[in-house]
Amino acid sequence: MKKFWRCFVCNDIHYGVLPPDVCPTCKVKNAYVVISAREAKSICGAAAEDDFSKDDFRKAIQKFTEGNEFMVNPDREKVALLLDGIFSNESHHGLKYCPCRLMSKDFDEDLKIVCPCNFLIHETYKGVDKGECWCGLFIRRPKTIEVKP
């Protein structure tokens, strides 16, 4: 079962079955202690920037895809529409749910459709040459053709 963990040195918060062996922020080993959800929410709530715009999210997913086999869809119109839906869903339903699926109202189940989701297992992506996530926000990065000298 996942728990909240706090680095006793720099107060990084981690949510998971186990904590990181080394704190990614302060690099201290064995630094994490289990804390309550209330404490985690207080720390994250106080520290978080309220203003996370669509542009911030766009930059975040761009960064997320760097070095991965997938990329953000270059179709800007499609991406803009999807971001409208993702932000509307966060505003009305609490999290950045995929606009091309529907919440089941089972929280754990619905975490699977928070963007970015684990689309590597989607039948529209896995093993598909021009694969994309279900909504099309992420697409498989086209293979570059190696030109021999």
């Binding site: 499609k78 529409l81 999807l82 409208d84 839906g85 993702i86 509307s88 869903n89 009305h92 339903h93 606009p99 091309c100 699926r101 529907l102 919440m103 089941s104 109202k105 699977k112 459709i113 989607h122 039948e123 529209t124 279900w134 909504c135 099309g136």
Partner: protein, 92 residues
């Protein structure tokens, strides 16, 4: 409820892409699809969720849009599909 239902999302690009095909289908066959938006209409969302046992196994284990659903035969098609596939769903 209409026999033919299209569950869709307002900000779903695949749903938007399917709309002209749905219009073509309605014109060609004389059928009428009931279009139910599920992210901005909780009643429609609950209705779609009520069909989860039928729809999810046909849609990757989840509720996805667009989903085309025949409420009499329980036939369902999910996603952005070719016109012929949509027509086959509606007319078989």
């Amino acid at each position: 409820m209409n026999k033919y239902v299209m569950f869709h999302g307002r900000e779903c690009p695949h749903c938007r892409a399917m709309m002209p095909l749905v219009e073509r289908l309605e014109k060609e066959t004389g059928l009428s699809l009931e279009k139910l938006e599920v992210w901005h209409d909780e009643k429609n969302a609950d209705l779609m969720r009520s069909f989860r046992p039928i729809l999810a196994p046909k849609c990757g284990g989840q509720l996805r849009v667009p989903t085309f659903f025949n409420t009499e035969t329980n036939d369902a098609v999910c996603g952005e599909v070719e016109y012929e596939k949509l027509k086959e769903w509606a007319t078989k």
